[in-house]
Amino acid sequence: MIPEFGYGVLAVSFFVALYSVGAAVYGAQKKSLAMIESARRAMLLLFPLITISAATLIYLLVNDHYEVSFVYEVTSRSMPTYLKVTAWWGGQAGSLVFWSWLLSAFASAVTIRKWERDIEFLPWVIVVASLTAAFFLGLTVFYENPFMRFWSMNGSVEPSMFPPAGATLFTPQDGRGLNPLLRHPGMVIHPPMLYLGFVSFVIPYAFAIAALITGRTDDRWIRLTRRWTLWAWLFLSFGLVLGGRWAYDVLGWGGYWGWDPVEIAAFMPWLTGTAFLHSVMIQEKRGLLKQWNMILIILTYALVIFGTFLTRSGVLSSVHAFAESAIGPLFFAFIGLTFISSIALLIWRWPLLRAETEMKSMLSREALFLLNNLLFMSVLVVCFWGVVSPLMSELFTNQKITLGPPFYERATAPLFAGLMLLMGIAPLSAWGHSTIQTLGRALWKSALVAAAVTAVAYFTYTSNLIALIGFFLIAFVVLVTAQEFWRGARARQSAQHENFFVALTRLMGRNRRRYGGYIIHISMMMMAIGILGIEIFQAETQNTLKQGESLTLENYTITYREIASWDNNGAGVNYTRAVIDVQENGVYLGKLTPRIDYYFDSQQNMTIPGQRSTMRDDLYVLLVDWQPASADGATFKVFVNPLVNWLWVGSFAFLAGVLFAAWPDKDPAEERSHTRQVAKQPSAAD
């Protein structure tokens, strides 16, 4: 009964979503407020409905209902309860329900707000959100149903929602269990973070489409969704970082990012989203780039759906083949349809989206923002080309080629360097007009100090050219940004006769987006230090050691002491743990305990590194092989990853920066109209 109930509620929510789309379109056509209100209520109903269905699924997961095929696939008796709950998004069918659930929550949050003067957007926002929800719900109702059960008939077992004639229910003793690689705290929160990011980008897209349809193409839709966009971007960014951290802790190859198609699929909407985040400021301040912003948000939406598909279609388990999942073509059809209709709408409204003024100077703030956008799009093109090149090469030449990490590194490095340079220059260029002279005057001191820092790095740390360029850019950006904080606070200090710190806090509080943005820039530079460190200076070695033998890498010496192996039958795992002593330049630092966990249910190993982490470098030791009863000893792989900790510390600074920028103001509407007027003045004077 329980699976039928869950499925029934899911099916009802699918029809409610369809109704909501229909009622909203009808209401907008007939200008019937009652119909629009009905559509809004239907959409509000989606959240409780999907919540009930999801709760049913969680009930089945937690209570070992292995007759349900989804429960069988992602849980097992040995898994702790919290993992059984999070197994909800551990498989395709469940994660589609999860996606719909998040979307219904966000859509409800949007429609509950006061609409007043934006009421004409409402029906179209409902159409986009409900249509997207209906697509995902439809997938779960008709194709990837998480409530299907096993039925036994004539000696064979088939999963099906309703019992085939003459079949009896089949209940396996135990489930297959979640892939052990996914049983990690990072993996428990990484997918929901990414999904939060993905789903929240639907909201600005919905408003963009509403603006196109209603023809109200001023920047109102951007102002309404500015915070959504920031939150979406925050979740997506943090999801990416968590994924990297998970890879670093669990996958046991000493890295955090492998330019895998699935990673790129999550990275591509981040690129367009980041470009969007920057370019909307140009529209708000100068009334430029309106068409471009539409293109960016439409692209982001398409990439979000594409990313959901790639990360959830089982591509993970195959190395270079896309999974032949039944829902693949449906995803492509949905992406194609929404993309083409969005572009058609955009072309229809193209004349309305003309720029209000012209871009004049190549070095003005808006021109540099445009350049920033072009660079982000270039990275996107590189990523896209890398993903599709196997298909393209097969179509146009007879040979199938593939592009690995070296391609991405080589092609994106100059683009990222360009973005860093812009991060240093753009904050000091003026809206409207800047010249080489004004920019040079503002920048030369920072550039000089950055050059000095680079020289110090050259004499004390490295002669690697790429690293030195990187260090120069990092120092430059940090200095320019710090100078911005300093200048602003000093100006306020003398104008308002405040103490420096009071002036600084008030300054930042009054310009949250600007200074939040600067904090984000600095956090990006911290992350860049980590990335440069591990990419350029990573050292590795491996060897088989007998007990008491040592292995040296850089300053570190590790000595193999002992090994033990034991079963934890309750958790269904065998642990093998080695104990090693770590010395740095002959000084004893402590012990590390790299492990291999072997999961009985999935017959799979998980290699947990022993890590010693400092801001200078990480010592990362893997136990890769061991012989229980022989003198051969154990094989260790050792990495020294310089500076990588900056990546993780930087991500917390990043979080702080986005929160600072996105935190609600006391009276946002007033503040916004004020900044708009102030910003308008110089352009009027031009």
């Binding site: 077992v157 072009l374 391609f407 080589r410």
Partner: protein
């Protein structure tokens, strides 16, 4: 005047990005190849970056734990997923490839730790280069075991 300046700048960036993509593709592309294709190309395949896939022959696996040198042979399997599916799936195809002595084979050398998944009838996906003797030197070794990817339907016997 302004327009042409911006247009020119945009074109310049476009050209730079195009150059970046083309040159990076040229410098780092790897060719997907099957064992048969490598054999057919012969000397022409020597020195190219190749991503080779094949079925691991269990009897040929040799591992020296002191030097971390691993050698084994792989037998030809099709690179076409549709073809693999039509022949009964990856597990069946790999089994057939190992059992058939007339299949083309390539000897593989890999220096590194022996992966747990390396066993007979595993699919090895390797990145590396072929030397003049026809031995494939793998820098990267990925293994896929069909047994790991069980059917979504449980065995009746497990009840």
């Amino acid at each position: 005047m302004q327009k042409t300046k911006f247009l020119f700048g945009g074109l310049l960036i476009l050209a730079a990005v195009a150059y970046l993509i083309v040159s990076s593709t040229q410098a780092s592309k790897e060719y997907f190849m099957t064992v048969n294709e490598v054999k057919a190309e012969g000397a022409a395949a020597v020195g190219k970056s190749i991503r080779l896939s094949g079925a691991v022959i269990g009897d040929t696996i040799q591992y020296d734990a002191q030097t971390l040198t691993l050698t084994f042979d792989v037998a030809h399997v099709s690179g076409d997923n549709a073809e693999i599916e039509s022949q009964g799936g990856l597990a069946v195809v790999l089994k057939a490839a190992v059992a058939d002595p007339s299949r083309q084979r390539v000897k593989v050398v890999y220096v590194g730790v022996k992966p747990d998944l390396l066993r007979s009838e595993a699919q090895a996906i390797m990145t590396g280069k072929l030397d003049a003797q026809g031995v494939f030197h793998a820098d990267e070794l990925l293994l896929k075991c069909p047994t790991k990817y069980e059917e979504a339907v449980p065995q009746q016997a497990s009840n």
